[in-house]
Structures are given as structure tokens and as C-alpha cells.
Symmetry: C2
Subunit: 420 residues, 2 copies
């Protein structure tokens, strides 16, 4: 293929290491100048492509791009915009190709989760049908760790490290004062459908009695009586109880616990916040003093405590994506392959987008203890390598020195507007 420009877009919820992948894509593309011209990024993800709102990354210095490696969030903007089925909304796909053609784009890199793998796959199909030469590469990313085929997802290891560290630290706090103060501490974490992040909290409990003592997974229907009995037991035995709970905890009837409780003064249901509900239950039924925390975006943006393993893998998938592209591979995604757990060894493999699109990796039941309240040794063995190593960002004036890009627009070439 003659030298062509590349298009890169970030998709879905951002992570602590999404920009690490962006850095890798841009740095690697700059090393393949004979095949790749400029890297254009979509402003706010795929919306940028549809609206022809492209960012010229060539306007950013090497030092700025390098600084992206340590900056959380999505530097070009991301969105949760899902392209519909090919037949349902062919105009959208054709518009993408039209924009790519106008800007001489021959490479499409889409960095996201399940939906994005699906979109990349469909774009590769439509390009073929329309006879437009386009190399389509998906790049994995999601804190939810639910992508199929890859052993783990870039972004997950850092959230895992953050939640495990946080609940360990809070555990030390609570243990110090439990005799006369707080007995039960609850940390709410993300993961609406899969308990990977909740499971990661469990890494902090290395020895008998360590926090967290109890985990509430979205996979295990919430049994109030068994939960309360267990909390009572733990407090009796250890003096306090630290709990990690998924925002996606469900009642036996399948409804989210977070949607079923608190109402404001006007009777409106409170959205989000399962931790305060669990806390109230503990107070009302067990008469124990509690505290609760909701980590929310803090957990997925905590670049200051990113996992080194995660940072290396996030970089590696970005680099591999570009290397696959210049070799002419299309319709694929670089994935992380675990070669062994002890010692931990991994490498980059390649999977077909069609095999990843819309599949979901769920937590195996044998990663959760039989009683449903903690992780098993097998789960620990899977998770532990993913949080290993620190990858500290640079600091300035005592705070992490993150970068903001200029994000200069590529002049438009089409005169058409496109409503999204």
C-alpha cells in the first residue's frame, strides 16, 4: 500500500492507561514514515470521524506525545456512541469511508471495548464492499476486563491496583479505631455486569483477618440475611469488617440494589450509591457504626498508582496494532496472551475482530468462593500479576504532571454536514 494517513479514535469509558496506548500508536506510527503519513485522531471518538472533526497529532511534539504515556483519561475525547447494524444504518458507515477517503486515510485504529471491536469489524466489511482499501485494527481497552480472547484488558490492572490498595489502606484505618468507633467500612467499586474489579479488592486480603473480609459481586444475588449474619461473625472475630461492593449488586429478583432504596425529599429515587444502602442496612439491623466510600471515577483515572504490568501491556497493544497494520493485517486486534502465571510471562497475540465483537468474558464461578463472599486462590493467581509493579508519573509542584494537548483541527475537506 502507498503511504496513507491513519485515523485513531478512543471509545467508551476512559482509563488510567488509555493514553498510554495512544502514545504507543503515535510513537510507533512516527517510526513507520514510509507507510504511515499523519495520525489523525477523532475528536470525541468516532463522532469526530462522522463529523469530520479530526485532530492533527503531528502538531504535537515528541515530548508531549511521550507525556501522554503518563496521563489518564482520553486525550482526544471519547464517547459511548455505538454504530448500529450495517443494514440498519448504512449511511453512517458510508460517511466514515467518505471522510477517510477525503483525508487519504488508509488505516483505522479503534481503541475500545466490545462495541468498538464490533464497529471496527463492520467498518472493515463496508470498506471491502465499497472497494475502499482500509486496514482496520481494533485495540483492546476496558476497566471492566470483559473482552473475549485477550487474557486481560489494558486499563484493568491499574483499577485493580487502585481498589486493592485503597481497601487495604482503609482497612488499616478502620482496624485502628474499631474498638470505639467505626466497625464496618464499605467501598463501592465499578463493574456493573462483571465482578472483576470487585474481585481485585480481594487481592488485599493476603492473610487471615486482612481487609477486605467480604466482597459483594454482581454475579451473586444479594442475600440480605446471609450477608448480615456474615458481617456479624466477622466483627465478632476481627473487631471490624471491611467490605468491597460492586455498583452492580443485584437483588434476587434481578433488580439493582442501588435502584431500590433512597429517595430524596421530593420522593425521587437516588441514582447510584449502593454503598450507603448497605451501610444503612448494617446500622439498622446490626446497630454497628459504619463508614462508606464511593471511588467512582477516581478508580479508573488513578494514573498515580497505575500498574506497571498494565502500563507495559497498554503500550504493547498500541505498538503491535501499528506493526500489524504496516504488515497489511486487517480485521484483527492485538491481544495479551498469558504464557505462565508463576513466573508471570506474557506476549502479544492476534485475534480476529469477528471473534471478539460482542462476546463477553464473564468471571468464572470458581473464581468466587463457594459462599459467594470472597475470591478463590485460582482467582488470586489470575489477578495478582496484573497489579504488579509501579509506574509513577512525573510530578510538578507536588502533583502529577499530566499533559493537555493542543488538539488542533485538520482543515475540513468535505462541504457536507453530518448529523449524529
Amino acid at each position: 500500500m502507498a503511504k496513507k494517513n491513519a485515523f485513531y479514535a478512543q471509545s467508551g469509558g476512559v482509563t488510567a492507561t488509555l493514553n498510554t496506548t495512544a502514545c504507543a500508536v503515535i510513537e510507533t506510527a512516527r517510526r513507520h514514515k514510509s507507510k504511515i503519513g499523519k495520525v489523525y485522531a477523532g475528536r470525541d471518538g468516532i463522532i469526530g470521524a462522522l463529523t469530520e472533526d479530526l485532530i492533527d497529532t503531528s502538531k504535537e511534539s515528541a515530548a508531549t506525545i511521550r507525556a501522554l504515556r503518563y496521563t489518564p483519561g482520553g486525550a482526544f475525547g471519547s464517547c459511548r456512541y455505538k454504530l448500529k447494524g450495517l443494514e440498519e444504518n448504512r449511511a453512517q458507515y458510508e460517511r466514515l469511508i467518505e471522510v477517510f477517503k477525503a483525508h487519504d486515510i488508509g488505516y483505522f485504529f479503534y481503541n475500545g471495548g466490545n462495541d468498538s471491536a464490533d464497529t471496527s469489524y463492520k467498518v472493515s466489511q463496508i470498506a471491502q464492499k465499497l472497494g475502499y482499501p482500509l486496514i482496520c485494527i481494533g485495540i483492546p481497552k476496558t476497566v471492566d476486563n470483559d473482552l473475549a480472547l485477550t487474557d486481560c484488558c489494558p486499563g484493568f490492572g491499574s483499577v485493580a491496583k487502585y481498589v486493592a490498595t485503597s481497601i487495604r489502606e482503609a482497612g488499616y484505618d478502620v482496624a485502628s479505631m474499631a474498638r470505639t468507633s467505626t466497625r464496618v467500612f464499605i467501598l463501592e467499586v465499578m463493574g456493573r455486569h462483571a465482578g472483576w474489579i470487585t474481585a481485585a479488592c480481594g487481592l488485599a486480603a493476603e492473610q487471615e483477618g486482612d481487609a477486605p473480609h467480604l466482597l459483594l459481586f454482581p454475579e451473586i444475588p444479594f442475600d440480605q440475611d446471609r450477608f448480615l449474619a456474615k458481617v456479624g461473625e466477622i466483627v465478632k472475630q476481627h473487631g471490624y469488617c471491611a467490605i468491597g461492593v460492586s455498583e452492580g449488586l443485584r437483588r434476587p429478583d434481578g433488580k439493582f440494589v442501588s435502584e431500590s432504596g433512597l429517595r430524596d425529599a421530593f420522593g425521587h429515587a437516588q441514582l447510584g450509591g449502593v454503598a450507603p444502602l448497605i451501610a444503612q442496612l448494617v446500622r439498622d439491623q446490626l446497630k454497628l457504626k459504619y463508614h462508606w466510600a464511593v471511588a467512582d471515577y477516581l478508580q479508573r483515572s488513578a494514573r498515580h498508582i497505575a500498574s506497571k504490568t498494565d502500563a507495559l501491556q497498554s503500550y504493547a497493544v498500541g505498538k503491535a496494532a501499528v506493526e500489524l497494520a504496516v504488515k497489511g493485517r486487517s480485521g484483527v486486534m492485538p491481544i495479551i496472551v498469558r504464557k505462565s502465571s508463576k513466573p508471570y510471562q506474557w506476549t502479544i497475540g492476534v485475534a480476529e475482530l469477528k471473534d471478539i465483537a460482542n462476546a463477553e468474558k464473564i468471571m468464572p464461578r470458581d473464581y468466587i468462593t463457594e459462599d459467594g463472599f470472597h475470591i478463590t486462590a485460582k482467582c488470586r493467581q489470575y489477578l495478582e500479576p496484573l497489579v504488579r509493579g509501579e509506574d509513577y508519573p512525573p510530578y510538578r509542584n507536588g502533583l502529577p504532571a499530566y499533559v493537555k494537548l493542543k488538539n488542533l483541527a485538520v482543515p475540513k475537506k468535505l462541504n457536507t454536514e453530518f448529523k449524529i
Copy 2:
């Protein structure tokens, strides 16, 4: 004074660097073997002294005591037990002296906030009255940063670094997706009576447009209409708005905002959680998508991102306390004296406990901007040196390697029980 044992107790809410001070006290005492015998710690603070439940720190190795330097919480246990007035409850004070006498304790180190300074002062008075030779030293500690005379309080700088880092990181996250998703992010932080921690969030906003855009201080009565108008303006200008709010935010009538809103299905008021209330207001009145986080204990136990300045100062006050004691000084507290802000220079000074006891350092009004929604340059100049430098703990298996002590009890010598 002949060689005597020392008693050390931790008091009140724990911090990320309270054990750093404990480490300094024990390490320094071990270097003064001619004057100080063993260091006994109170199990769960002053309660340990009253109930003759003393911990023998000499049973811990030098390596373990060193590891305390990097461990959050209160390693010997803490409590919020406040001794009453001397005349009101003379029996308690006499009991303390009785326990000290039984264990040959000639040094009393009390590590806490305002109440603790008051208690230390009263203990020194009663010892004098009873003719018992006791050197009483207060050691400052509080995340609230509200102790008089000392320029800042050990423990505060690390919370400050944590909240500023967290809201900066969450700001990068929200900025990435604001166009199609969350527009308003709210982080709730501690500080029920003083806005020092809320102010520290403001450090993250170094340039126009940086998060946080808006701070809600406990010192400034919450004006709902002005707040909503301001949020609307900020979202219009920057696309999103990141807010730091104190748990102690009050309505114009003086009531806590957190006590005035949510009720559970049974009509019980929800305790704590001002962030979700502010979030609902934003949703109901401005129709903007929001997210909120409550940092709770995470902020004061986050040893993984402790401030180096804070860690050094926390160690320095513990060391100075012992050095003052062996020189025969009593009724005093080592404090942090700022010699200059640019460059930041500090030293350890000495203050009289009677001047610190029950005084309170409030946020100067000129540390808050005139509109009440942010910090001034003067505030930034005060705060910025306190978060400087990193002081990373060691890691094991990807998580901070914190230590747990054996906490072996000193055999009791009194046959009396004491009800607390």
C-alpha cells in the same frame, strides 16, 4: 531524672503518617537508652492507659518499627475518648498517674489534635499536684489542620496531596467524555468544621479551565441559586465542571446539608453523603449528567501517595518530642515553624500546651476567593509546599507492604479494674 519508661498513645482520627511519628518516637527513644527504658504504647489510645492495657514496643524489631514509617492508620489503636475537666473527673487523672507509677513511667507522649493537647496539659497539672515526676509532651497530628500555633499539622499534607491528585485525575476523565456524557463531577472530602482539605482540592487548578472549577467550603453558607448559576456558567465555558465539596457544607440556617435530604424506604434520614445531594440538585435543576465520589477514609489512609514534606515533618515532630523530653522539658509540644514559603523552609519549634489546648486554627477568609467558590493565590502559597515530594512505601506482590505489629501486652501490675 533516673531512667524511666515512656508511655506513648495515639489519639483521635488516624492519618497516613501518624505511624511515621510513632516510628520516630520509638526510634529516638531507643537512641536514648540512658534516660528512657521501654516505650509502652496505649492499646486503643488513652483507654489503654486507663485500663492498664499497655503494649510493649520493645518486643518489636528495628525493621518492624522502621516499616511503621510507611504504614497508615494507628498501629497501637486510637480512640476519641476525651478526658473531662480536672475537677469533674479527677478519678480518671489519678488513675493515669497510678498506672504510670506502677509501670515506672516518667514520660507521657500524647499524639493527637486539640483534645489531646488539652489532655496532655491536664495530665501535666495533676502530676505536679500529686507530686509525681512526669514529663508530658504533646505531639501534633490531625488531617483537619486546625491546631493552633503550628504552621501545619502532620497528616494534613498527605490528605491534601491525595485530594488534589484525585480531583485532577477525575477532571481528566470527565473532560474526555463531557461532550456526550458526564458534565458535572463532585468529590466529597473531609473537614467538618474547617475547609483546609476542601481548599487543598484547589491546588489541582493551576491554569484557567483546570479542575476543580468550584469548591464548596464549610465556612461559606451554601447558596443554592448562586451555586447552580455558577455550575451552568462553567459547563458553558469549559464543557464540564469538577467540584470539591466539604462533608461539612452548611445551609444558610447553619444545618449540615448532608443531614437535610435523603431518606430511605422507611423514612430514615441518610447520614453522610453531601455529594449525592449536590449531584441530585444538579440533575433536577440543570438537567446535566453527573457522577460523584466520596473519598471518606481513603483520603486519610492513602499512604501510597503521602507527601514527602508531610512524612518528614511527621517524623521530625516525633523525634523532637523525645529530644525535648530527655532534656527535661514538659508541658510542651513540638510544632512546625515556616521560615519561608519561596523557597519553602521549615524548622521545629516548641509551643506551650496550654496555648494550644482547645484553640482552633480557622481558614483565613482571604484564603477563599471573594465569591466563595475557590482558593486565592495566598492560600495556594500556603498549601503548595505541604504536598511537595513523594514518599512511596515499599511494595510486595503489587500492593503497598504495610506492617502489622505483634502488640504484645505488658503484664499488669495493678489488681484494680477501671471502668471507662
